[in-house]
Symmetry: D4
Subunit: 254 residues, 8 copies
């Protein structure tokens, strides 16, 4: 319920078409109608409020819950996406919902066409090692689902600095950069000193021993001496994509 | 040294004005001239490369080092800024460099006028509690130094939700939001579900006991269920400002 | 053994019905009789002492141990409950003890009827996300087993604030609130500023990466700026229920 | 703004005394009026909303900020309290605000009389060691400020179990127990098996080495095998008092 | 090689029966003969040196390595013991070495008779919960293998204090106490204030959430306010038994 | 109150010299008389119960509290000891209580003569580095206060293995060994393979960086591959001394 | 592209054989040609740049990715090696690439002959326990693959000091020492005081409880009082081998 | 005592010049003579054993202890060095020992001339930021004290990559590299891919918030994807220098 709807409701009160009591009930619930009482409550109006539709986080849901959420969201929004769906769970969802498309590398599912979205500036997704690919691809898939044109650049870790420098021009062509890196995650620090674009860094859980499932990569990114890098949770390709798209839309708004 | 300068150099080689040996020497050092060999090497060309000038991080520098760095940067760039300069150190720098201006709340110093910068969209800096003000003001001062128009909104923590909701319209007027919060840092999660702007969250070290000097605030922000929030290091107002300005410039580029 | 029994024993000593030596033996063991020497010693008098019967913590027990404990407690108390019993273990217990009832979502078992308990004020159990349901349901089942009327409100996380505000009236109808939340666990902070009831927060292990299996949620709840929230261990629906029932009974005692 | 005020506003709209536009403006800000724009925004209506007035957390405020907040709150509420004010800061506040009363052991300040509050059942505050006294006294002072009758029992740690058992009857006379303990914090676990009252445990930062400034005490309390104990942040006497008073009021409401 | 052997060797040198060069070779290797060069080098003389034979730590060994080590040690010492051998591995070892005896609860294996050992005072092994039994039994089995008479007392956690107090006399009959406890591990603190025996505490990994696989129990034991409690690694029943036996032998030496 | 006193009381009841009511009152407080209600409650009977008198932990007490506790304990026990009293606080206590003796290296105070204690076998206190001396001396002073003969061996860290081996005979002359070590704390592991005595290891906070104020030393000691080493809290010389004396007394009891 | 190639290119520009534009393109990419755009980009020139060829880290790669990387590297370098390939994955790679040789203990794969490498001084690899063998063998295999002569010494932990001292002469024959140790990792500290060679310590994840999967071993090694020990990540046999070979080559260069 | 001395002693035994008993005494103490019994035992023979003299670690020593240790070592070795001596302590030592030379930036002291040492290959010490200088200079001073020629390169952090690349040739001229870096410590990772020298990385405690006093830098270095980097403790310039010199001596031995 936006301002115009609010004014319309108040006008209806003034004109006596709606009683103050009924209006109070509507207003007490705020301008949104939630299907209260059900275990899985999808939030179809989230896109209106935040510019980004609800995405299904599959890791802690059963196949039945994922299928139900995808169907409900696709019905409202025209298309839906679920992430963190491993191979076994993906097959189980597809058995329930045969129209679902399985995206293997990013471990994601889509249902229905990608809905039309606002224009977005190009995003470049850079990743340091082969092992970081699932997260980089998750970021790419979500960015594209949200309407962004995406360039992917893989395996440009700093241990082979020339690989990274060789791709600098390509990176500079984008307006927003997502840098995905595990282990010591030095890539975004180096890149942060070379490009002037907003950059979002995604630490990954790639590594062993002292890597602590990505905590050291996360810490290194936050402690980076290259100012202006912002960071999301470990392996959070979705969050990076959403942030990048919000920036990318600003960059091309009329 | 940008591409055109590179081509000019190579043309000079072709025409015999520069010997291959001299050109090799220049190129071996990359297109930048560093004053190698000195302990404090300022990087005056950083702005050309990354869009943002070098800022002086005062916490681990002596007053002499801060004064020297401010002077060198102000000479090249027209104006300079140092952060993390506590009251005692600030006085010591001012004794060495009387033109310096002390900014008390954000614990910062500036020297010279704020240089002209590219246009930037408005940034709103929201902070949860009075104790978060120094960090919020650091973010504000740096944003303004980099050319951004800034709105400040203080003391809108979630324990008094109405205070936050009362200011939503003001927040929505900005194109980029910086949310500063300590303790459990719930503010950005709530805000993330209410506005569609890119949001950068700054955890602060405000709190005690289990707050662990901001680590819990940091963790909560990274674990936030509101997708699209990006995060910087604890108390890192500078980093948030630089990131916000990079986004804000994209939003108003011609 | 309460004071009246103690005085009775001492009177019996005075009157020569009990020898000082026998009385010393009884007193040395304190007023309670434990079945010493067995590996699983149930504590049937715990309810007399603490108002709450012993509940079986199934996670680190074998099916045989769970069945034995449920039987012993049900014999003494009229009914018994075991928590943290996963699907496989539940089946194994049911094979040993066919009268057991399996509660799937909260992963719990009950044996026999719910015994009559003291009156208890209504408890509202609020949970932030679908993934928090098993813990919320554990809290609900234990609360009901202890005699409390329970209202359940699911999926009202702060990223969709309207969902929560829409249910505020329902929450305010209860006398005690249990708030279950994972990830950054902002829900109880927000709720703590909106309701005046005693609130017990249960962090859950829902999340990934920096969530650290619930440690960040736990930390955020303890660091909350909304005073008066108390907290139990991660995923500890039982503890929250016991605490809520102790409060709820106070609220309706004659 | 409660429901009756909301209905009054809507009736005024119907009758034409308030234009829909003005009403929309008021409603957009929610039923509360915040003094937006100032750095220190006190929340005088918090008591109406949550049953507990705003208390001033002195640790991260300047003497000037503390004095201003105490004055503003005392003006609205009749009396005010600030915690975490060390000796030096307390003297500085008193210099600014001579009517302030300094409470040395709990490191707190009060201004004005203790306002009348709703009735509250008796609270017993138990503490394990001499070093825990400042926190226990903070809890006691806040409880009394909120209207609760308080019993204090000090130095009953479990290493001298008899001391604790000797005071059990006194503890059982209260309706709510606050147990304050540092080091290994075993006291609340033992007490939790002996009394049937709601108990709130406050870990303290007392200890050294592996105590980690109270983290081990906190962990031990949360991991306690005595169900129904709830916990607040390390050294958080205020939070325990607020929670206890909310419970104590329920216990004696008409 | 003890002092008398050393003197014998040197006498043999003096008398010319052993050349200085041969003696140098023997001495260069120190008074012990290690079968250098093999991957599994058992240390049959450890008992001479430290009073305690080598025990096989099965957790990180293959069944083949365990069987080889047990055989070698049994040959030298008359009997051998392996710990941390789970059910599957135990079966695999028994298939290789049919004389092995499987001890199910403590997850251990023995081969051959328990060798005669020095006399040892009685040890009492107390454990807080059913889930702590495997570790308590590991401590008991190792103590008995090393020649100690053992009393076992199970399920006397502090949440039911009367259970513990009822067994105090039995505990006081032993000369050394091993206290095994998980979760918040309050048992040894309480016991430490009630008995005057040397006490060794074993934290266990029993618990969940904030228990951190026994780290909180460990921390609580080390931070205990009952002085004189010493602690071993989490789940280290073996270490506690070895320490207790070393003490128990001192107590009864002639 | 021991068993004989209990029987005497009960006989007095039988004979009518004590009323059942009075006896109940005495028994309700358990056989001990605690001065309930005062902030500092010394426990003069602790020695009867645990064999070790109460020692004053000075770190978190004011000079006034230390002086009061020393005086009270010296009055009951004939002599008293306080630890963790830094130089400034020691002077302040001495000003209040001129008979106090300051022990500089171990940062301790004693008042009055060392009371007669039960016989104790010799204890050897070994320390790895000069920086560990304050803790080693604290352990030595407390051991001697409790009646043990003590040998001190300093600066025998494993980086100079010969130093340690040169003192092995001296170490073997004692019946109990306390090994004090900071940094990586390898000394007790090496010693544990060379001597057959009960050994108590004290990690110290000596070190920097990754030493984490002694946590790494503590962890290394608990993870030691030399079985039978037991451990106390970081810098806890008192606890090691109490444990060693309890063992040493067993070793020489008649 | 080394300096001579760079001068050759510039000379070609001067002579007009290469246009400035083409030269700019080559220089912009730095002197290296990366096969940009493919997911797995092997770096065959790494050996030229760093002296050590790329090794395949198998842990986070699929069998297909491992096979592809081994083939590509073997084609360029004559032979290739992959580490962290568990038994199942090894079989899957061998099915794809039958020429691969499986090395069971170090869990590694090699393809093709070991290529000729620069001369290297002898390396001695010492390990503390049987459980450390896989890592010690990984270090040995990689060292040999890189051209080093290797001596292996197993099971010389400090709990049996004589075993270690018996092998000192063998250790001293090498020019570089790799010491592999889990649990408390005291071996390198002891060894560091006995030999004058460069020593690289590898902490292993062997241990349980407080060992924290090798973090305590790592911490102990870094905190070691024996100066000059350097450390690599937990279980990082590869890193230790590469470091040792770089040192070993220096030691025998002409 | 080396092998020839051992054979000489045994020959003396054979010839009757030394009794077996005396020889046994000598051998029992191993070939070294320690001045046992004093609190500060310097180890003047350490250089013979490990190639590196004892250095005084000043942080946890009093000025008196530092002066005593420097004097003793200088007497034996011709010159001595102490590190971690802050300005105040340095003045206090100089008052006791006027010949001492204070080195301000590296916070170190030297006494007497630098003794002649074995030849050593050149070492290059690279540091990322101005704040890392004290540690870099500590490494440089110790390296020079041990006889190494040293090149210093400051302020070449990766955020200004050109600065680093501009100095690559200078770095490559050394045989061993010490890289000093705080914050995210990306410098050594980048350098590790560009040079083929043995490299030792020193994490520093420079940084704030999530840097955790250098733990994140340490973790990043250990997790580095550039194989062959070895690491020392946080701020441990001494350890890096000793390791580098051991390598450098190998590189130039005849």
């Amino acid at each position: 319920m936006d301002r115009s709807q609010l004014e319309k409701l108040l006008a209806a009160v003034r004109e006596g078409h709606v009683s103050p009591d009924d209006a109070a009930n509507q207003l007490a619930r705020l301008p949104y109608a939630a299907e209260a009482g059900e275990a899985v409550v999808v939030d179809p109006h989230r896109e209106l409020r935040t510019g980004v539709p609800e995405l299904v986080f599959g890791a802690s849901k059963t196949p039945e819950q994922i299928a139900a959420a995808l169907s409900a969201l696709a019905k409202h929004n025209g298309g839906a996406l679920a992430t963190r769906v491993d191979a076994d769970k993906a097959r189980a969802v597809k058995a329930l919902l045969p129209d679902v498309v399985i995206h293997e590398v990013p471990r994601a599912l889509t249902l229905g066409p990608t809905p039309a979205r606002p224009a977005c500036a190009p995003i470049c997704i850079v990743c340091a090692g082969t092992s970081d690919l699932p997260i980089a691809e998750e970021a790419a898939l979500v960015s594209e689902f949200l309407g962004a044109p995406v360039t992917r650049i893989a395996d440009v870790g700093v241990a082979g600095l020339h690989r990274l420098l060789a791709r600098l021009d390509d990176i500079r062509k984008a307006d927003v950069v997502i840098a995905v890196a595990g282990m010591e995650a030095a890539l975004p620090s180096v890149l942060g000193g070379l490009v002037d674009r907003p950059m979002i860094a995604v630490p990954t859980s790639v590594g062993y021993g002292v890597s602590l499932d990505g905590l050291v990569a996360l810490g290194g990114l936050l402690a980076s001496c290259a100012p202006g890098i912002t960071v999301v949770n470990i392996d959070n390709g979705v969050g990076a994509a959403v942030a990048a798209v919000k920036i990318g839309r600003l960059a091309v708004r009329p």
